[in-house]
């Protein structure tokens, strides 16, 4: 049963039906095979881009869709229900445009933003490093000023779209305790991607280290003041976490739908297993987890749309939705029994995919830390 949504406008409803149509025809039929072959669906992003879906939350003035997060996130959720790699990639892309859109100068935005959100280009967000994950301030990548350029050396780690991205929103040290944000073209000399990580799930999504060896970036490509990079990075993550929460709900919805479908068909002891109370309660709990997680991220989104502080709510949404996705996908495997444990059904893949949602854009331990710190204020 597809999610029942309350959307604010007719154009949001039309947008969601367009998205469902694209998902049904362009994404869902390929997800399982492409994930099995670890193939990156670059073309799928162009299809989304052509329909204007890669710049949904950004102002019309720059070619964006100027949609509230309440709508953008539900689009993301629908895509995640068809193919998580594509939804997560879209969320990363949107986050990688955030620094420029929010902190760039008028001239910087005019020069680059229309192309970045226009649909042809794909972005990446480069914060983590091998020795700096949960603690990004511990990064060692260093940019040194040489005339009108920065010269950057170091290694970024775990970068989604490494090697395929057209631009990188990159955090680097520009002083001892000072992080700055640079917008780096993907084809820059001195920037190269290491071989892809062999991940447990999201296998179609390329993730790799980025080597920065004498990478020259014009000073004019710095976003915000020198030293404001960490603040920009964390601000981007607040919005990014809402994206991950929406992805988690989409994935959980897909797992629930598959579990319900199977439980209606599969018969044991002379009747469909959905009629056994042990299954009923399991499925009911799954549905409750999906719908409460959706309500949680939408509440945080509506705060953001009204210009209210939403950092704590974003962390809560990320925590609640990704833990829900882990539980629901695990239980979906249980509902399908032995079949669920095979690659003939998608639920084992959903379960593998759910795990990473609890890890990236701030592990769920870090989310708890963010929430608790606000409580202790």
């Amino acid at each position: 049963m597809p999610a029942e949504r309350m959307l604010p406008t007719t154009e949001a409803e039309d947008l969601l039906s367009l998205v469902r149509e694209i998902c049904q025809q362009e994404l869902a039929p390929h997800a399982s095979n492409w994930e099995a072959e670890s193939r990156f669906p670059r073309e799928a992003f162009r299809v989304l881009g052509k329909s204007g879906l890669l710049g949904l939350p950004y102002p019309e003035r720059w070619g964006g869709g100027e949609q509230p997060y309440e709508v953008y996130l539900q689009v993301l959720e629908e895509i995640a229900a068809s193919w998580l790699t594509v939804a997560e990639g879209m969320s990363v892309h949107v986050m990688s445009c955030y620094a420029l859109a929010t902190f760039g100068t008028e001239q910087q935005r005019e020069s680059w933003l229309p192309d970045m959100i226009g649909g042809e280009l794909l972005g990446a967000y480069a914060l983590s490093e091998p020795q700096a994950g949960s603690d990004p301030a511990g990064m060692t990548t260093r940019a040194v000023r040489e005339g009108e350029d920065y010269v950057v050396n170091g290694t970024k780690a775990w970068i989604t779209h490494a090697g395929v991205a057209d631009f990188y929103t990159m955090m680097t040290k520009t002083g001892e305790d000072e992080v700055s944000c640079l917008l780096v073209p993907g084809n820059s000399e001195g920037l190269s991607a290491a071989p892809r990580e062999r991940t447990m799930g999201l296998t179609s999504s390329p993730v790799a280290q980025l080597r920065l060896e004498g990478l020259r970036v014009p000073v004019g490509r710095r976003i915000g003041e020198e030293g404001s990079g960490l603040r920009i990075a964390l601000s981007a993550l607040d919005s990014g976490r809402l994206g991950i929460a929406a992805c988690a709900v989409g994935l959980a919805q897909a797992a629930l739908d598959e579990a319900v479908r199977y439980a209606k068909e599969r018969k044991q002891f002379g009747k469909p297993i959905i009629q056994f109370q042990g299954m009923e309660f399991l499925l009911a709990d799954m549905a409750a987890a999906v719908e409460s997680a959706r309500a949680t991220y939408l509440e945080a989104a509506r705060r953001r749309d009204r210009g209210l502080p939403f950092s704590r709510q974003a962390s809560i949404a990320k925590l609640v939705a990704t833990d829900a996705a882990m539980k629901v996908t695990t239980d979906a495997v249980q509902v399908l029994g032995g079949a669920g444990y095979t690659r003939d059904f998608p639920v084992e893949r959903y379960m593998r995919e759910a795990k990473v949602l609890q890890i990236f854009e701030g592990t769920n331990q870090i989310q708890r830390m963010v929430i608790a710190r606000q409580l202790a204020r």
């Binding site: 947008l15 367009l18 329909s51």
Partner: protein
């Protein structure tokens, strides 16, 4: 070149489709409604012709109030405006009654050079409507087009049927129905969706077209569905055990069924 596209809202082929028990008309509430896919191709063809030859694309739709969704889809793909004929009296109209209303509705659009339609709707599958509309308008009908080319005031069409391909030519204005091979329809863009909201849709009742209620609806139709039964479920397939000769057995079966 001004083009009219006849569009229809149909139940989504993905959902279960039913007829109402009382009068065997389509139970519209039982299924999701969408713009018929063949109509999307007709709209696409109109937009491509417009890109080369200019002019305006108008969609014309006869259908209940909620067909506005299908009309908005056509507008969000890029059509310029719409005429929507909606009237309770139309319930149960057969193909001829519908064609009469459509022809009148086309008449409200000025300077029409071309009328495009799908060759057959996925619900009723009568497949005669474009020819009926052409007859009523006194225009040439070129049906089952897989390719359309306009050159000045003539149009050339490749008409494809089971028998083969026919190369047709007519002078404009004309009515053309397209088949599935004509093109791949575009997805609307979000900008198109936003723009569609502002495009003019004139909503008309049959009275506005000078059509009498007695000529349409269940009463005014020449044909009526008196009985309907769902297709019997497919019989169990025939299983072929592969003992090294599986391919041969499958081929023999297909030959036996006159499929190859």
């Amino acid at each position: 070149m001004n083009i009219v596209v006849l569009v229809k809202q149909v139940p989504d082929t993905y959902s279960e489709r039913k007829l109402a028990d009382a009068d065997h008309t389509l139970d519209r509430d039982s299924a999701d409604a969408v713009l018929d896919e063949i109509n999307e191709r007709a709209v696409e063809e109109a937009l491509q012709l417009q890109a080369t030859h200019g002019g305006e694309v108008t969609v014309v739709c006869v259908g209940p109030d909620r067909a506005t969704d299908a009309i908005r889809k056509a507008l969000s793909m890029g059509a310029d405006k719409a005429v929507h004929v909606s009237d309770a009296a139309l319930h149960g109209s057969d193909a001829i009654a519908t064609a009469k209303v459509l022809a009148k509705a086309v008449g409200t659009v000025e300077g029409v050079d071309l009328v495009l339609a799908g060759n057959e709707a996925t619900d009723g599958r009568v497949g005669a409507l474009p020819a009926m509309v052409a007859e009523l308008l006194g225009l040439p009908a070129l049906t089952h087009a897989r390719k359309v080319e306009v050159d000045g005031s003539t149009v050339k069409v490749e008409r494809e049927t089971d028998e083969g391909v026919f190369f047709l030519e007519a002078s404009l204005p004309a009515v053309i129905s397209v088949n599935e091979k004509i093109n791949e329809p575009r997805y609307p863009s979000f900008k198109g969706i936003m723009a569609a909201k502002k495009k003019p849709v004139s909503t008309l009742a049959i009275g506005d077209l000078g059509v009498d209620a007695g000529e349409v609806g269940l009463g005014g139709s020449w044909t009526q569905v008196t009985e309907a039964a769902p297709k019997p479920p497919r019989a169990a397939g025939q299983r072929v055990e592969d003992e090294g000769d599986g391919g041969v057995k499958v081929a023999e079966y297909l030959v036996g069924q006159k499929l190859i």
